[in-house]
């Protein structure tokens, strides 16, 4: 069981060291220019191919998972969002799913009762939802904040986000709450996989690797901002060079930044091949994005194609004489 997280952990350390030492050995252009461009290409191409593949896949059955009263007789109240029969209902349901992870909110856990009866009991388990929500929103804020490195002048909305994120005004440079929440939530999601026996049993290396990678990214980023320090103007010169297609490698940036950038590039390049594709997949789950209207509208399986079929009428035509001879009932006597 241990190798399932030791190998991803070692891999992330190795990737960190490769970039850290590589940049120190004069390969700054490789880790600062070549890798980021390749990563963004790999990310976009991989993402598009994956989603196109999903778009081309058949939805043979209408399989909404319902969590409320179906549309029924007029005097029975329907749950329009949890059991939608209209596009509006489906839209609202998807909105709540994407922005508030509603299905995760309903998460339950099974455990044996602690008293003598030892009965299995199911209880509401909210912490995965809390952790996931904290993680995703903190990551979103961190991602948006990084637009200060890709725009000059920096748009007001990004500055406002930074001001809001740094509202506690602790230390100098000021503490950003999103960084703390991101690191804490990632550690929680990791601890859950490691210490909850049931989750550990179903966790694979591909579950641990993104967590360690994101932890590495957060750790290097936090270190650069609060502890080891970097020349931010120099770094922005470099990132602006990347997005305006005139890449430069300024002096005095330091290996830690290249390690951070390399881990981010790995995350981007790895993204389309990983479980992180739930970013695109959440929009395409047939259990969520289909309306429960199968009794009102016929859903045709696209797999149904023209096959030569042998109906009962044909069968009877074929064997009528023999059937009458054997005394079997037939539809047509002649």
């Amino acid at each position: 069981m241990t190798q399932k997280y030791l190998i991803p952990l070692a891999a992330v350390f190795l990737l960190f060291l490769v970039a850290y030492t590589g940049a120190g050995a004069g390969l700054g252009w490789f880790f600062g220019i070549v890798v980021p461009y390749l990563a963004i290409i790999a990310f976009l191409v991989g993402f598009v191919i994956k989603v196109m593949g999903w778009a081309a896949s058949a939805v043979p059955f209408k399989i909404p998972t319902t969590c409320g009263q179906q549309k029924s007789l007029p005097w029975i109240k329907q749950n329009r969002i949890d059991n939608p029969d209209t596009t509006l209902g489906v839209f609202l349901r998807m909105l709540l799913e994407i922005f508030t992870f509603r299905s995760l909110f309903r998460n339950t856990k099974a455990a044996f009762n602690r008293n003598a009866s030892k009965r299995i009991i199911y209880s509401w388990e909210i912490f995965l939802w809390v952790g996931a929500l904290a993680f995703h929103y903190a990551f979103l804020v961190v991602l948006l904040r990084h637009f200060r490195f890709f725009t000059a002048p920096v748009p007001q909305v990004i500055q406002f986000l930074e001001a809001l994120d740094g509202i506690v005004q602790v230390g100098l440079p000021g503490l950003f709450l999103s960084g703390v929440i991101l690191a804490a939530a990632t550690l929680f999601l990791l601890a859950r996989r490691m210490y909850d026996a049931k989750v550990r049993y179903i966790s694979q290396a591909s579950d641990y690797f993104p967590l360690f990678l994101i932890l590495g990214i957060a750790a290097t980023g936090i270190s650069m901002r609060y502890f080891t320090k970097v020349d931010v103007t120099g770094i922005k010169e470099m990132t602006m060079g990347l997005v305006t297609f005139s890449p430069v490698i300024p002096d005095g940036i330091g290996g830690l930044f290249y390690a951070h950038l390399f881990l981010v590039s790995i995350l981007f390049a790895y993204f389309p091949a990983s479980k992180l594709m739930h970013l695109g997949g959440v929009f395409l789950s047939p259990t969520r994005n289909t309306a429960n209207d199968t009794r009102a509208k016929r859903h045709v399986n696209p797999w149904n194609y023209d096959v030569p079929i042998h109906t009962y009428q044909d069968y009877e035509d074929h064997f009528r004489d023999k059937m009458i001879e054997a005394g079997l009932p037939v539809d047509k006597k002649e």
Binding site: I40, R148, F150, L172, K236, T244, N289
Partner: protein, 131 residues
């Protein structure tokens, strides 16, 4: 989900991912500033720390200075290069702004460029503004 909806969503996503690239094409992009050494700093050529160290660490240094001055009344900083400095942001000839004459060109150019909004100036004033 119809195929058109999926393709539309995918196009929006690709555009969003590429936003740093096209945003800089449709707007005018400000070039990276070069902090200008004006006033006494031009001749002195000796700051409290080395150039890149200073670029990365000046905010922590100022934070430490503030605590040293306010809590311990310790006002003299002896730098690694042997020179001593008055731990002050804006008062006197031997302070940060006493040497680096132009706040707008020295401090603000980089801070604006990197969207940093230090709250130094909520208490301190730029000595040039008083005159």
């Amino acid at each position: 989900m119809t195929k058109n909806m999926i393709m539309g969503g995918l196009a929006v996503f690709v555009l969003a991912v590429l936003s740093p690239f096209w945003f800089n094409m449709v707007t005018t992009t400000q070039a990276a500033p070069e902090p200008e050494l004006l006033g006494p700093a031009k001749e002195a050529r000796k700051c409290v720390l080395d150039k890149y160290d200073m670029r990365a660490n000046h905010m922590s240094l100022l934070d430490e200075w503030r605590d040293a001055v306010v809590r311990d009344a310790d006002r003299i900083y002896v730098a690694a290069n042997g020179k001593s400095f008055n731990m002050s942001l804006s008062t006197g000839e031997n302070s940060c702004l006493g040497c680096h004459a132009d706040k707008a060109k020295f401090c603000d150019s980089c801070h604006t460029y990197t969207s940093v909004d230090p709250y130094c100036w909520e208490c301190h004033t730029n000595p040039k503004e008083i005159e």
